[in-house]
């Protein structure tokens, strides 16, 4: 009953309700399956054998299973293992170093702007014509407030 090439339906687990083929018999209780499911060692109790069989040798690869499954009219995805990529550790350290001076620069700019904002207000209240004393930028701000 459970020999390589036998089409089965998975009954238990998250791959249940999916078709598979027995690729290899490991034990009296366990077989290796592949197909719509993941390539996996499963207990015989977790699969239901069907009448249909496929032409597959013992220990067939994933590519052979994909070819054989076309006889059933089903196309399978070819799964490839992901390439391992290195973690970008160095970049993280650089960012922290760059952030610190930026904040300091911003604070300084704010302080400068605050100082400049204070000066025209006092002058506008105290002195009536600030054109002679203050630079060009401060002259532009004064008429808006009035």
């Amino acid at each position: 009953m459970y020999e390589p090439g036998r089409v089965c339906m998975k009954i238990a687990g998250r791959d249940s309700n999916k078709l598979c083929v027995i690729v290899d018999v490991i034990d009296a209780n366990f077989v290796l399956i592949d197909g719509e499911t993941r390539r996996k060692k499963v207990n015989i109790k977790h699969i239901e054998p069907l009448k249909k069989t496929l032409d597959i040798k013992k220990g067939a690869s994933r590519a052979d299973v994909i070819k054989a499954f076309k006889a059933l009219g089903k196309e399978l995805k070819d799964t490839k293992p992901k390439k391992s990529t290195e973690r970008p550790k160095k970049k993280k350290v650089k960012k922290i170093v760059e952030k610190a001076p930026k904040k300091a620069v911003k604070k300084e700019i704010k302080k400068e702007t605050a100082k400049t904002d204070d000066s025209p207000k006092k002058e506008a209240s105290s002195v009536e014509n600030p054109k002679t004393e203050t630079p060009k930028i401060e002259v532009k701000e004064a008429p808006k407030k009035e």
Binding site: V7, M9, I11, A12, G13, R14, S16, N17, E48, L50, K52, L72
Partner: protein, 89 residues
């Protein structure tokens, strides 16, 4: 008297305080999920209040298989077995 305290829709919980005990009122838990075919209690389905269930991820709320959270595992096996035997390839 409040409706909350009069009826038994809310659960009464005694809380210890410095002056003695105080009764507080909390929502009752929802019923346990059961399989409609076998009558079993569904495993992997939490008895949390609907507000808390909203914040949970999907994988925490039901087992990850066909009919998960609706039928028990034994009922799904029977159902899929019968489906497989009638299948024509």
């Amino acid at each position: 008297m409040q409706h909350k305290t009069k009826s038994r829709t809310f659960r009464r919980v005694k809380v210890r305080t410095i002056n003695g005990t105080k009764t507080t009122y909390q929502r009752r838990k929802p019923k346990v999920g059961t399989c409609p075919e076998t009558g079993e209690i569904l495993k992997g389905v939490p008895r949390a209040l609907p507000g808390k269930m909203k914040t949970m991820p999907k994988t925490h709320k039901r087992p990850e298989r066909p009919y998960g959270g609706v039928l028990s595992s034994s009922a799904t096996r029977k159902k899929i077995k019968n489906k497989a035997r009638e299948l024509e390839l």
